[in-house]
């Protein structure tokens, strides 16, 4: 097993993992604030087509990413207004958002199918990015670095800043937070907008780097995996990173096994594994005493202050 082999395999793992890690990171923040947004898939697709289309029209990938983030925010705001200001059921609204996102992205995308995106090179100079060894660190797309940065930033934010503490308080006990004087609804709006922006960026990862083109429903269900990942991670950023890479390694291993002629278990078993493990993790963390690593207590419950 040469270094090149390992590095190439690692590149595959990183490529598969990054969009899921991004989407899950955004959703983590949303859920920490007490809201469950099932519309990730829809927001990702809107971000994917927006990023692609804008980058294409303006010949500039950075504007594309920015547009994708904004599109994600805009889409998430539909959800936010319904759920926060009108008190609709979060599950139903999230599902409707997914349907909306699939439809909207397909509609915008009808004029963009069959086009290839601009190449989007890694942000480091070629000498490093193409170097046989150092490319493992410097040869990735900007999305990869952003994803790493983001998960650490979120972890730090949640555990070490006052704002993060307030966010968690809102998610654990919204009435108390409200009585202390924190603007619960505003905080949740911000969290949902953040989740939307990140989901949009995650979608753009697909259409701009992984497979530089647009095709309907190209995220192929990754949004749902991101949801599972947040559960799997016990709502902790560090575990999210580990969990995402665990998923990525599993998926990659499965491909290598198949290509080499081994089928130890049917492939469906591997595909089901992450979800089964997520359920097991849920059982484990919920049965322990203490609140660390459990779901935010207000997750999914609407907040309507009295008077």
């Amino acid at each position: 097993m040469t270094w090149t082999f390992l590095i190439d395999a690692l590149v595959t793992v990183i490529g598969i993992t990054t969009p899921i890690l991004l989407a899950a990171s955004g959703e983590l923040v949303v859920e920490k604030s007490g809201v469950i947004n099932l519309g990730i898939e829809g927001m990702m697709l809107v971000g994917a087509i927006t990023g692609f289309a804008v980058a294409f029209e303006f010949s500039n990938p950075w504007i594309g990413i920015g547009a994708a983030a904004l599109a994600g925010v805009a889409t998430s705001m539909i959800f936010a207004v319904l759920v926060l200001s009108l008190g609709t059921n979060q599950v139903a609204t999230g599902l409707a958002l997914t349907i909306f996102g699939i439809g909207l992205s397909s509609l915008i995308g009808t004029n963009y199918t069959g086009f290839a995106a601009l190449p989007f090179d890694p942000p480091f100079p070629d000498a490093l990015a193409q170097h046989p060894i150092w490319r493992v660190i410097f040869g990735h797309s900007v999305f990869v670095y952003f994803a790493f940065f983001l998960v650490f930033a979120i972890g730090w934010f949640l555990s070490s800043t006052r704002a993060g503490l307030v966010l968690r308080a809102v998610g654990e006990n919204d009435f108390s937070a409200h009585s202390i004087g924190y603007p619960v609804v505003a905080i949740r709006y911000a969290a949902i907008a953040f989740g939307g922006a990140i989901a949009g960026i995650a979608g753009a990862n697909f259409s701009m780097v992984i497979t530089p083109m647009w095709a309907e429903q190209m995220t192929a269900g990754r949004g749902w995996i991101a949801l599972a990942l947040v559960v799997f991670a016990g709502w902790r950023a560090g575990r999210l990173l580990a969990g995402a890479y665990f998923f990525g390694v599993l998926m990659t291993l499965e491909l290598y096994a198949k290509a080499s002629g081994y089928a130890i278990m049917p492939s469906q078993f591997w595909a089901a594994m992450p979800y089964l493990i997520a359920v097991a993790v849920l059982a484990f963390i919920s049965s322990r005493d203490g609140r660390s690593g459990k779901e935010p207590a207000c997750l999914g419950k609407p907040f309507i202050p009295n008077g």
Binding site: L97, S106, A228, V279, L282, A283
Partner: protein, 358 residues
């Protein structure tokens, strides 16, 4: 000055009925404008989407076929909704129920007899209930949220489906395509009930609606469900055990989902990879739109089925792209979900000095 929502003392009955109607009308108007802007004949498009499925008697069959599984699953979910138990994974139970029925079909493929169909139906219900027992057990034993556990299990069920139909249950005469053998005549319900052109699923849905209406309104069990949902402390004081409610609610919705799955297999006459149609998820919306009441769920199921069928009609007649129809459905859902608020809450404008009612 700000807008606040104030809970009404009782639900506005007027709004209960008006809001869905107003939402649909509102979205229809938006739709005419939207489609015109996109270059279609807006009025025609909206007509095909909403009106044709309702007034064209040929389309009633299609609406009924689509509505039946939504209503069945929705009825099951509405029990849980009232107890604030959210079975998001009904899709998984739908699939496992269908698999159970398909398994019985595989075992009985060379047999005949009147007992086969009832066995498949019961088997499907049992399969769905058993699959729902997992989140129920996890909740009662470990306190795991049923929202998350049942959702994860949906993906597990998809893999199980894939495994079984590409492996042990693959049709030996199917050219190696991932699908089960066709159900035999002894295993299929008739396509339509007599001359009506309506599918048997609709009959099941009607009967189920009546049964559920009786249970919810007139039995102690139904009362306990509502009590646990609305006043859990008082309910427990009154002797209703919440664990039992969790088990019952989840297993009932699982059984209904499994029943819907079984009926759908009989419609399709076999299982293939395209089987998971998302009814389990759409039924969540149906049960909420129907305000978790059996008659409401029935109507909501029909309404949603109309949008599906209307979307197909719009595609073939007006050549509206499939994506636009889907977008439209989402808008209707948003509108109905949003307007729901006015049933339970009143909008008030509050100033520091006086209160002005809107």
């Amino acid at each position: 000055m700000r807008l606040v929502l104030e809970k009404r003392l009782e639900q506005s009955q007027l709004m209960l009925i008006m809001t869905p109607i107003l939402s649909v009308v509102g979205v229809m108007i938006i739709g005419v404008i939207l489609f015109d802007a996109l270059g279609f004949d807006g009025f025609d498009a909206v007509w095909q989407l909403f009106i044709t499925p309702v007034i064209d008697s040929y389309k009633w069959r299609d609406v009924a076929t689509k509505a039946a599984p939504l209503i069945l699953i929705g009825l099951g979910l509405s029990i849980g909704n009232r107890a604030k138990i959210w079975n998001i994974g009904a899709e998984g139970q739908y699939i496992v129920g269908a698999l159970a029925a398909a398994g019985i079909a595989v075992l009985t493929k060379d047999l005949t007899g009147f007992w086969i169909i009832p066995l498949m139906l019961l088997g499907g219900m049992a399969g769905g209930a058993a699959y729902a027992a997992v989140p129920a057990g996890l909740k009662t034993r470990y306190g795991v949220s049923e929202v998350l556990s049942s959702l994860m299990l949906v993906y597990v069920s998809l893999q199980l489906l894939s495994y079984l139909i590409t492996g042990p249950w693959k049709d030996p005469n199917g050219m190696n395509f991932p699908q089960t053998a066709q159900l035999t005549d002894a295993q299929l319900l008739p396509r339509e009930l007599g001359d009506t052109g309506l599918p048997p699923g609709l009959l099941f849905a009607l009967v189920a609606m009546i049964i559920f209406a009786v249970i919810v309104d007139r039995t102690v069990f139904g009362f306990s469900i509502r009590a646990i949902g609305e006043a859990p402390q008082a309910a427990r004081f009154g002797g209703f055990k919440s664990n039992q409610i969790v088990w019952s609610a989840l297993m009932i919705s699982g059984a209904m989902a499994g029943l819907a799955g079984t009926l759908e297999v009989m419609q399709l006459t076999r299982l293939n990879l395209g089987f998971p149609s998302g009814y389990g998820f759409t039924a969540i919306i149906v049960s909420l739109l129907g305000r978790s009441h059996p008659i409401g769920v029935f109507i909501a199921g029909i309404v949603l089925a109309v949008t599906y069928v209307g979307g197909q009609v719009a595609q073939t007649v007006v050549h509206v792209p499939n994506a636009t129809a889907g977008l439209f459905q989402a808008l209707i859902l948003f509108a109905i979900l949003a307007s729901d608020i006015f049933v339970r809450y009143k909008m008030k404008i509050k100033t520091n000095k006086t209160e002005v009612q809107s």
